[in-house]
Each structure stands twice: as C-alpha cells, then as structure tokens.
Amino acid sequence: MRTKTQLLKVENAGIRFGGLKAVSGVNLELLQGELVGLIGPNGAGKTTFFNLLTGVYVPTEGTISLAGEKLNGNKPYKITKKGISRTFQNIRLFGELSVLDNVKVAYHSLAKHSIFSSIFRLPSHFSGEREMEERAIEFLKIFKLDNVQHEMAKNLPYGQQRRLEIARALAANPKLLLLDEPAAGMNPQETDELMNLIALIREKFSLTILLIEHDMNLVMGVCERIYVLDHGQLIADGTPEEIRNNPKVIEAYLGEEVS
C-alpha cells in the first residue's frame, strides 16, 4: 500500500495581473504517490497555476508548501532543487544541445565539481563529468532514447521530443512532477505509449504526478483524482467518475463532452 503522507499543500493560492485575477483561492492537496489530473476549459488558468507552483510567478495570495516547507517567493531553480520539476505545454528543450546533454543539464545541481576545478581540469572535474555521463546514459535507456543520445534535441521527431522533456524533468530528481499537456499533438498510438510511460515512471521513481491534459481519455484513464479549474477557481474535485457526472463541470465545458 502507498503511504498516505501529504506532499503538496496549496492554500488559498492565487495571482492577479494588474486588476485581473488569473487564479484565485485555489486549495489543493496531493498525497505521496498520487497521480492527479488538472482539467479545465481553455484559459481557465491551468498553466498559470503550474507557473505559481514552480515559481515562475510569485503568488499574490495564499501559500504553497511542499512536504511541509513553504515555497512562496523562491526562484524557480530553487523550487526545482526542493523537488518540483515540470514539462512545458510548448516544448522547451535545449535545441542545440545533444539529447545526452539535455539530461546532463538537469543533473547540474548534483555536480560536485566547481567552476575552478573545471577550468583547470582538476581530477574532480573528470570524475564529476564521468559520473554525470554514466547516469545520463543509464537514464536515457529507460526512456528508450539512448540510441539517439548524440542527436541534437531539435532534430528529434515530435514524440521523442516530448519524451525527452519528461526524461529531463525526471532527471532533476523531483518529488513532484508536473506535466503540462504531455499528450498535446500526439496521435492515439503515441498517447497510448505515453500513458504506459507515465505508469512506468511512477512505479519506478515512486513519484507524485500532477497532470494538465485536454485528452479526456487519458485523464480519466490514468488519474486517481481530478481537479477542475474554471475562470481561475477550482470548481470541483473528485474521482473520474464523480467529475464525469458533476453538473458544474459539465456546465463549465458548456456542451463539450466530458466523457
């Protein structure tokens, strides 16, 4: 059985841009090991909410804490080090770096060798780089990307780019992984593969995952719980079954099929 300790706690979080409340009063809890979906119509504030969690935006109200530690006001790179890692809706790989180097960048915070030792090529530089390289190659094997490790990221086909982005996010060793529309632009077969991959990494890395997705089949298929965001506010949460039958949710989607 999974432990039921609380990992992420969001209390009354929100942000306003000028007079506009983009997200407000969001209360959300994730337990260790959960796979939770975040859905909502276009412009509901889902990605903005991710940006709040990852420190890209600083919340103007409320608190966000990870495993009891308050995150508000931390810079994104610090939040990543504390254990939240993400992918982006519009893929943001390091295009001119190789697949291997993309993953190595995520290992950067683990590097033990200083700038000084790299500049003067001290032994710690070589051991540190070697360790990173070995880990990165091992890691790429899990994602079946080891055969393209020397390709430039920008030259990968779309599906592999999505996979690489997830791999890179995982390499940063998160406790909580945020996936922003991982299936966007994928065909049904690729989406199936993605679902298997998500299930696999969750087992393997004992992760907690929060997932934004438009593909209802995917969300309803893999998520244990679902939160629904509309106009920057949470309007519902519950199991897929409850969400499917929630009149508020159906109204928010205004005729869009929820099943």
């Binding site: 890209v56 790179y77 990543t80 943001r92 790989l93 001119e96 290992y107 950067h108 020397h150």
Partner: protein, 324 residues
C-alpha cells in the same frame, strides 16, 4: 575512452601551440619577420582574446552584450596606471587589468543581466559609453589626449595570454558549467526550471568574459604606445562583435578564425578606414540575410576532422568534447 581522446587532443594542441610559439620567436629574433608583420601578429593575438571572451558571453551564454570595449578600456587604463604611474612590472599589470575589468563586469552585470535581448544590448552599450566618458574626464589618465604607455608587450607574453584564454574558456564551456550557460542561451525559462541558477551563470560568464577583455586591454595598451578614450568607442565594441557574429554565434574556433581573418584584412586596409567600414557593414548585413548562423554555426573546427571517424556514432558529439 572518450576522456582519453579528450586528453590526447588537449595535450596535442598544447604541444602544437608551444612549437608554434618557439618557431615564431626564432623568426622574430632572426629578423625574418619584419616589424610590420610582428605588429600584425600582436594585433591578431589581442583580437583573438577579445573574440574568445565575447564568444563566452554572446555565443555560449546568449547574452547580447555590445559594450565589450568598456572592459577593454578598463583593462587598458588600469594596466597603464600600474606600469606607468606605479612602476610595477608588466605581469602584475596584466592580472590587475583582468581583475579590474572583472569587477566592472560584476558591477554592471548584476543589475543589467536581468534584462533580455535588445535591452541588455543597449544597457551594455551605455555602460561602454559611460566608461569612455569617465576616462575622458579624468585628468590623472590624461583626459582626451590620453596616456603614453611603454611598449612592454613581447611575443611570449602575448602567446601565453592567448593560449591561457582559449584553454580556460574552452574548459569552462566543456563542463557542466558551460552546459548550464548554453542551456540559458537555448531556453532560459527551461534552464531555470531544470535547477540552473540562471542569474549566477549569466553573471559568471560576463565576469569571465570581462576578465579576459581586461587582459586584452593590458596587452593593447602596451602595444600601441598611447591609449586615448576615442580608441574605446562604440566602433571598437562593434569590431569585436563582428568577430563573434561572423565566426558563428556559439563557435569558439569560428570566432578565433574570424578574428585572425578580419585583423589581417583590416591591417591591409589600414589606410582606407572608411572602405574597411563599408565592407565590414556590408558583410555583416549580407551575413545576416544569407547565413545568419555565421561561418561555422555552432560547430567547432575539430568536428570537421572527426566527422569521418565517428560517422556512425553521430557527429554532433565531436564538437562538444574538444578541449583546445
């Protein structure tokens, strides 16, 4: 295995550089190279240092700084004060020039590197102008008429500085720290999300780049007999910028090659300065229109040699593992 090749390539380059340095020294001593060529050689060396240092800021880290002459000026004046006013030896001047420029880089970098793209460009340009105007108004360093400086530069000092600059910048680039900088160039938001302290690395690249620009300033001052604020205007920054752009943003060997090539060309066009500038500007425009990635793109010269060997393994790997 790769590390072994890596080390072999590195020591190979060092041996080659030493052989080259000794041969040139003999040519200078023997009088085979007349002063005109020796002078051109010194200019090439100084420009290589400038190109390499700006390459780290623009090519690797992607921070579009067009005020590099500001650091050059700081280095030149500080070194000149140290040798001419304080009477200390030349090596001290070189180090102090680098350190002073690095401090200037830190002071200007911390606030301005939060800016993006064209705003950063304008801010760095403004910084260089401020430095020029400051030196123009300090009587201690001669104001507009400048300072006379002894010709202390020698071939061993020059080639040592060039080699150290290249080795340090290449070593920095080919490490996790260099990758952090490249990731900022490629996508700053993603780099941040991957745990890279983007501000720290931008400032670091800026400071290292400024340090070597300062070193180049020391060599420059002790090569040209006189330094004046007008030597360090926008045009000087532009001269350095064109090395990096023409060579290929992100390619060290491209920047170095462009520095060599353009220094030779401008030496021959020294008597026709406006023709030189017209040609430069046309080349720059044509380059952006037809080959915006520069001569080399982000590739290094070594990747062309290794291409055949590692055809199956993927060629991109080659350019990331070269040391010198």
């Amino acid at each position: 295995m790769k590390k072994l090749n890596n080390a072999k390539g590195f020591w190979g380059s060092v041996v080659l550089a030493v052989v080259f340095a000794v041969v040139v020294q003999f040519l200078i001593n023997g009088g085979t190279l007349n002063p005109f060529y020796v002078n051109a050689l010194f200019s090439i060396g100084i420009n290589i240092i400038l190109a390499a240092s700006l390459h780290l800021i623009i090519g690797i880290t992607g921070q579009f700084s067009i005020g590099h002459s500001g650091f050059l000026a700081v280095g030149a004046y500080v070194s000149a004060i140290i040798t001419m006013k304080l009477g200390l030896p030349f090596p001290v001047a070189i180090l102090a020039a680098g350190a002073a420029a690095a401090v200037a880089g830190l002071v200007i970098g911390v606030p301005t590197l939060r800016l993006r793209g064209d705003y950063l460009a304008i801010a760095t340009l403004g910084f260089a102008e401020i430095m020029r105007i400051v030196f123009l108004n300090i009587d201690y360093v001669g104001g507009a008429s400048g300072m006379t400086v002894s010709h202390l530069i020698t071939w061993p000092w020059l080639i040592a500085c060039v080699a150290i600059t290249i080795i340090i910048i290449v070593n920095f680039t080919n490490s996790t720290h260099g990758r952090a900088c490249i990731s900022i160039r490629e996508n700053e938001i993603a780099a941040d999300a991957m745990g890279i302290n983007t501000t720290y690395y931008k400032v670091m690249a800026f400071v290292i780049g400024a340090f070597f620009a300062g070193v180049a300033g020391a060599l420059h001052a002790h090569n040209f007999y006189i330094i004046q604020p007008t030597n360090f205007g926008f045009l000087k920054s532009f001269d350095i910028l064109i090395f990096v752009v023409l060579g290929g943003l992100g390619s060290m060997s491209g920047a170095v090659l462009a520095a060599i090539l353009l220094t030779i060309i401008s030496t021959f066009l020294a008597n026709y300065p406006e023709v030189r500038m017209v040609i430069y500007s046309l080349v720059l425009i044509a380059m952006m229109l037809f080959r915006p990635q520069g001569l080399m793109g982000t590739k290094e010269i070594t990747s062309f040699f290794k291409l055949g060997k590692s055809a199956q393994g993927g060629s991109q790997d080659a350019n990331k593992n070269t040391v010198a």
